[in-house]
């Protein structure tokens, strides 16, 4: 299972899902009304590394984090 966590202001508990890559995860999250609107504004980290491609395979125990728009300082 892959752990998915939603950071910052996204009001959503972490979930465990059975997906094999980011594309499959994207399809799954699109069908979730709480998350759908956030997708276009979120960066994605796999095991705490930001990624820029959907061609990332996911394996059991991986963690995917969604990072909404930021404002430090």
């Amino acid at each position: 299972m892959v752990k998915v966590e939603f950071l910052g202001p996204i009001k959503k508990e972490q979930m465990s899902v059975d997906v094999k890559d980011l594309k499959e995860l994207a399809q799954l999250l699109k069908s979730d009304p709480d998350i759908k609107e956030w997708l276009k504004e979120c960066a994605v980290a796999v095991n705490d590394n930001l990624v820029n491609s959907l061609d990332v395979e996911l394996k059991d125990g991986d963690k995917v984090s969604l990072l909404p728009p930021v404002c430090g300082g």
């Binding site: 980011l22 276009k40 728009p69 930021v70 404002c71 430090g72």
Partner: protein, 146 residues
């Protein structure tokens, strides 16, 4: 390493420790930046959340960049609530000569605002409201919006 503190930063203490760290390392320039919470739009405080694993990787990349120019970066940030006129962010650059430090500070603070994984909330009447209009999507956002 990013220094993270609960609540407002003790700027005098932080700058003093950074100065002590750097003064005998033969850096000719020590440049600092502080972010102070302004009294605006009826806020009582700002509140911050930080995702430390991604922040520390982001910072490590900047430290490498600084090192390649003979410089060194220090940074401190608050988590939780920071009241008006207190400080939530401090950065410093040490370098052998001033020009590198001045330029690096500019680049570093701009990239910090754009990409450091920190979320800001306005505190109004004890409610915590995400500062959405002032926030910026991190580079590469929207990847999962297919």
């Amino acid at each position: 390493m990013v220094e993270i503190y609960e609540g407002p930063l003790d700027i005098k203490k932080i700058f003093s420790s950074w100065y002590e760290w750097g003064k005998d390392r033969n850096f000719g320039a020590f440049i600092t930046f502080v972010g102070i919470v302004r009294d605006e739009e009826g806020i009582e405080a700002l509140s911050f959340e930080i995702y430390e694993p991604v922040l520390s990787r982001w910072f490590d990349r900047w430290q490498q960049k600084a090192k390649s120019r003979g410089a060194y970066i220090k940074m401190a940030h608050s988590k939780g609530d920071v009241p008006l006129h207190e400080s939530s962010y401090a950065a410093a650059v040490f370098s052998p000569k001033r020009r590198v430090a001045l330029e690096l500070m500019d680049e570093f603070v701009e990239d910090f605002k754009a990409n450091a994984p920190i979320w800001k909330y306005d505190v109004k009447k004890s409610n915590r409201i995400y500062a959405k209009e002032r926030s910026h999507p991190i580079e590469g956002s929207g990847l999962l919006d297919i």
